[in-house]
């Protein structure tokens, strides 16, 4: 059964709409997942620093940085570049302070990173405050 032009056009529109919505949903899920992964490593770093186990903190931090470097290109394509730059700056500051074993500054940067990650995820969510 051959569909008319308008029927095919309508079907095409529905397909494009579904694909676009699926793509948007998938990117939201991806952002959330990578943010959660990074947050896990940051929690490990916090725990290690509290226990003054700097080598363990450094290992967790390096794993977090590796994960972030993999996710970064996708984040740049999906979010505002300033958000990504903020996280970059905070991570590099954290790495520097961790190397110098400055506990207070490490905790400050960890809090800042948590905030930036949460902000990046929240700003992408569908809710009333983001809509307006």
């Amino acid at each position: 059964m051959r569909l008319g032009y308008n029927a095919r056009l309508s079907l095409g529109l529905i397909v494009i709409t579904v694909l676009t919505l699926a793509f948007c949903w998938q990117t939201s899920v991806y952002i959330e997942k990578t943010a959660d992964n990074l947050a896990v490593y940051l929690t490990e770093v916090r725990g290690a620093v509290q226990a003054e186990d700097w080598p363990a903190a450094d290992r967790s931090l390096q794993q977090g940085l590796t994960g972030w470097q993999q996710a970064r290109p996708f984040w740049l394509g999906l979010l505002n570049h300033q958000d990504v730059i903020n996280i970059d700056l905070a991570l590099h500051s954290l790495a520097a302070f961790a190397q110098e074993q400055r506990t207070d500054e490490v905790f400050n940067q960890l809090s800042l990173l948590d905030y930036y990650l949460k902000l990046a995820v929240e700003s992408d969510k569908v809710n009333l405050s983001n809509l307006f």
Partner: protein
Amino acid sequence: MLLIIRTAILYAVTMVSMRVMGKRQIGQLQPFELVVILIISEMATMGVQSNGTPLLNSLLPIITITVLQIAIALINLKSESFRLLVCGKPSFVIRNGEILEEQMRRLRLNTNDLLEQLRAKGYFNVAEVEFALMETNGQLSVMPRADKRPVQPADLALQIQHETPALTLIIDGKVQEKHLQNLGHDQHWLQKKLAAYSISSPADVFFMSIDNLGHIFCQLKSRGNGSPAPIREGAQTAPAGSGHGCTPAQANHS
């Protein structure tokens, strides 16, 4: 470099979007179609101007608007009430030769605007107009009084042959094969015609067309020394005051 690539991508996407939305977008704009054009151009500009925002921030809105626009156009096609809601309906501003002042007030159309639109349609005298309709796209459609409209063949009881548009045979050196087939001719016929004009190859021809009476218009490509005179075969008159145009015999002689 980034700016150039982003601009090129957004330009391509906007062009495709306009093309997909159809010819109406570019021609007579309805209000909702004008909105679409404005929003899409704004989205494209944002993507070009700001390197810090992802390209998706411009591409996704453009795709969304294109889809919405086509969807609204499809619904418009099927539902008259929806069409009325979205486009409105045309309104008479002159009916039976009378200017409808109340209607003009409702449309916020002043007399100067009306006169301007009438002049643009070729009517410098309101007394010549029987009906004027303000369309939903803001254009004025005018029907003149019966005794003021241009004379038509039917008025003079003339028997006129059915006419069809002229078909192009060659555009910029390229033969339009489909049109040639539609006419029931082939390359051999075309070569014979060109040979009669002392033209060796279709590649030398800038433009060639044939009308339903078999009259041919043919113009060679310019070779940097001005456009050559076109060849008109079969037409009884050359355009008035053109100073150009020659018969095949004249073309052969030159």
